[in-house]
C-alpha cells in the first residue's frame, strides 16, 4: 500500500510542478480532484455485471464466494482490503496487479467501466455499517463484556483481557452481526484451526493439552490453560489428538437475548474507523 501511495504522491507532485510551470501557479485543487477518483459505475446493475465478471476472471483464485482460497493464496475480499483503502486503490490493484504475486492485472484492453464494476462488486461484499440497524446497546454490551459475560477472561480488546481466545479489537471488521451472534450462541459451528485443542501424549505417558498455536509437518506448538507454551517435534511424542470443537462456552443459557444483542452491538462497533 505504501508503495502505491508513494507512487501517486510522486505523480501528483510531478503533475503539480508541470501545471505550475505551465500555468505559472500551483493548481492544487485540480490535482487533488484528478486523483480522488470516484466510482461512477456503482448501481445495482453494475454490481451484478461486476459480479459476473468476477466469477469469470477472479473466482478461480479468490473463490466463487470471494472468500479466498488456500490453494492459490488469494485473500478473502469480503472483509477489509488490506492493500487499498479507497475505491481508486482497489481499481489500481485490479488494473495493475500486485507486483511479484499471482495477482496479475486484468488484460490491458479491459475497458475502464468493467474495472469499476468489479470495484463496485467487491464493495458490495462488504457490509456497510451505516446501513445496519442494531437493537442492542453498545454501551451495555461493553460493560457486559467485562462483567457478567466474563468475556475478557479469554478475549483481549485494546490490549487488555485474556489470551485464551482471539483478540476482538477489530472483530467488527471481520464478522457481521449474524456471525457475531452465532459465535456466542453456537461457538462450535466454525472453529478456526488455530483454536482447536490438541491433546499430546508424550513418550513417558504424560499428557499435555492446549490450544493449537501451530502445526506443521514436523512440529507442534500449543498453549495450555496456564498460558504456558509447549513445543514438540512430532517424532519425539507418542501420539496426538485434535479436538476440533471450541473451548468457548455457548451463552444461550447464561445470557438473555437482550444481553446478547447488546454484546453484538458492542462487538460490531469495534472497527478501525471507530
Amino acid at each position: 500500500m505504501r508503495q502505491t501511495y508513494l507512487f501517486y504522491w510522486k505523480a501528483n507532485l510531478l503533475t503539480g510542478i508541470l501545471l505550475a510551470l505551465g500555468l505559472g501557479l500551483l493548481n492544487q485543487p485540480a490535482v487533488a480532484q484528478e486523483h480522488e477518483e470516484i466510482n461512477l459505475y456503482n448501481t445495482a446493475v453494475d454490481v451484478r455485471v461486476g459480479g459476473r465478471y468476477f466469477q469469470r476472471q477472479c473466482s478461480r483464485c479468490h473463490g466463487a464466494d470471494a472468500k479466498g482460497t488456500d490453494e492459490t493464496g488469494a485473500p478473502d475480499l469480503t472483509g477489509t482490503i488490506s492493500r487499498a483503502s479507497t475505491d481508486f486503490g482497489i481499481y489500481n490493484i485490479i488494473r495493475k496487479g500486485i507486483q511479484g504475486t499471482a495477482m496479475l492485472p486484468v488484460p490491458a484492453d479491459t475497458p475502464d467501466p468493467k474495472v469499476w464494476q468489479l470495484v463496485a462488486y467487491i464493495n458490495s461484499l462488504r457490509i456497510n455499517p451505516a446501513n445496519i440497524d442494531l437493537t442492542g446497546s453498545p454501551d451495555a454490551g461493553q460493560s457486559l463484556f467485562t462483567s457478567k459475560g466474563s468475556c475478557s477472561d479469554c478475549h483481549m480488546i485494546g490490549g487488555t483481557g485474556g489470551r485464551r481466545g482471539p483478540d476482538l479489537s477489530l472483530v467488527g471488521q471481520r464478522l457481521d452481526p449474524d456471525e457475531l451472534k452465532i459465535a456466542m450462541t453456537n461457538p462450535d459451528e466454525l472453529v478456526d484451526p488455530r483454536w482447536w485443542t490438541m491433546r499430546i501424549t508424550q513418550k513417558n505417558g504424560s499428557v499435555v493439552e492446549g490450544l493449537r498455536m501451530e502445526e506443521d509437518t514436523f512440529s507442534l506448538r500449543v498453549i495450555d490453560e496456564n498460558a504456558d507454551l509447549w513445543s514438540f517435534r512430532k517424532n519425539e511424542i507418542q501420539s496426538y489428538e485434535r479436538v476440533e470443537t471450541s473451548t468457548m462456552p455457548s451463552y444461550t443459557q447464561t445470557l438473555t437475548e437482550g444481553e446478547i444483542d447488546d454484546l453484538v452491538a458492542y462487538l460490531f462497533s469495534l472497527r478501525k474507523d471507530n
Partner: protein, 542 residues
Amino acid sequence: MKRLLTLLLISLATVALAQDLNDAPVTPAFSPVTWDRLVNASDEPENWLTYSGTQNSQRYTRLDQVDISNVTDLELKWSYQIPVIDRAETTPLVVDGIMFITESPSNVVAVDAVTGRQYWRYDYELPEDLRICCGRNNRGVAILGETLYMSTLDAHLVAIDARTGNLRWDTEVADYAKGYSKTAAPIIVKDMVVTGIAGGEFGIRGFIDAYDAATGERRWRTYTVAGPGDPNVSSWADDSWKIGGAPTWITGSYDADLNLVYWGTGNPAPDYNGDVRLGDNLYSDSALALNGDTGEIEWHFQFTPHDEHDWDAIQIPILADIQFQGRQRKVMLWANRNAFFYTIDRATGEFLLGTPFAKQTWASGLDSKGRPIVLPGVSPTYEGVLVSPSIGGGTNWYSPAYSPKTELFYVNSYDGEHKYIKRDEEYEEGQRFTGGGFESVQPIDNYYSAIRAIDPGNGEIKWEFPIQPRSSAGIMATSGGLLFSGSVDGYFYALDANNGRELWHISLGARVHSAPMSFAVDGKQFISVAAGNVVYTFGLKE
C-alpha cells in the same frame, strides 16, 4: 615453499577470474549433450540432463553417496536468489558442473554447480498484456548439444546457446493473445524439441508440437482435441471441439525402444459446465502415446471422460519395467488428479489396474477397461455440489517418482474436497472460459495429505507419511534408499524410501513448489531444490 606455491596459484586464479569478468560471460567448456547421452542419461548420474532426470521420468538418481546412514550430515552448500519475485517451480539441469536454472517469468541463468555463482543470464522480454491462469512460472529447460530450449509465457519456444546465453532462435508456438502460454520444460526426441501448451482456462485447442532443434521450424503438430478427419470428433457435441481445451502444460516422457512419446492432456473447456460439450471429449484428460517421428497418436487412454471438475491428466508419465502378475511388462504408472492410480501397458495402452490413492467420492470404481463408473449427483450445479477430490485433485502436476530399487511409486496426495459450481458462460476469444467455479467449505487444516508409496503391481498403498497441511512439491528417489520432497509449510526433507521413516528435514522458510534433483561434481553428490524464490543446494559435511 608449498605455502608460497599455493599463494601464487591463488593469485593467478584471481587474475584469471578477474579477466573472465571483463570478457563476455561464458561457461567453461562442457561435452555437448548428444542424443545418445540423453537416451542413456541414467548411466551418467553426475549429470541431470532432462527435467525429470531421464527419459522414463522416474526422477530417480543412481547416485548413492548420500544414503540412509549419512543423510543427517547434509548441509547447505549454497543458495541462488532469483531476482524476480514469484514462485520458483524450476528443476535445474546440470551438465559437467554447470547448472541451468529457469526463473520467473521466462529467464534462464547458468551458474557454477559447486558455488552457485553466475556465468551468464538470459532475460526474455515479454509483452505487457499476457493472459495466464496460474502465475508466472517456468519449470525448466531441455538441452541438446550445446543448446538449451525453453518455453516462454507468451507461448514462444526459444533456443539459447548454453555456453553464452545468446539467443539462437525464437519461434512463436501459438498466439498468446488467444490465451495460449507455455511454462513447462520441453523434451528432446532425436533432433527435435517436443513441447506442450497451456491455456485450458481460455478455450484454446490444445496440441503437442515438435520443432527442428537446429532451426526452430515445426516438424509436426498433434492436436489433443479430436477434429474433422478424426472419428473421435464425435465425442464432442456440435462444434464444441473448436474450443475444447485439453492443454498439455507439463513435460512428457519418451521410450526410445518403442519410439513413443508419452504426454498427458488437461481438462476440456469450459472446465465446469459440460452441458455445452456433451460426449467423452477426446482426448482431454488422457494419456497419449505419439509416434516419435510423425506425432501420430498410436494409442490413447482417457482417465476422466467428459470431465466437469478440472481434473487434468497433467502428470508426468512414469515409465517402468516391472513384474506384473508374474510377467515382465513395460508399463506406464500414473497417479491422476481424479484420485485414481493406474498401471497401463505402455506399448499398447491396455489398462492393467486402477485403484483410488486419495479420497474420492465421484466414482464407484473403474470398469475392466479402466473407465470410471461415475456416481450420480457429482456434476457441478448452479448451487454447488460437494465432491472429492478437490479442484487441485488427489495430486497435480508436481512430479511423482519411482524407485527401481524398492519397486514403489511415490506421490504427494491430498484428501480434499470442494463445492463445484456451474455457470453459463459464452466463449470470448482470449477471455477466461471456465463455466463455473468452486468454493472451499472448510479450512485446509481439516484435510489430510500424505506422501504415499504405491505398489504398481496391485495398486496397494504400502506406506504413507503425513504432511501438514499439504504439498505441491515433486519427489526424487535415490539409489541411496532415500526420498526427497518438500511441503507448503516450507520444509525440505528426506524419508526412507522403503518404509517412509522420517530421516532428515530442514525448514527453508517458503513453500517448496518444485521437484528436487541430484548431481555430482568431482565425486561429491549434491541435492538441489527450489523453495520460495531461491534454489538451495545441499551436500554432505566435509
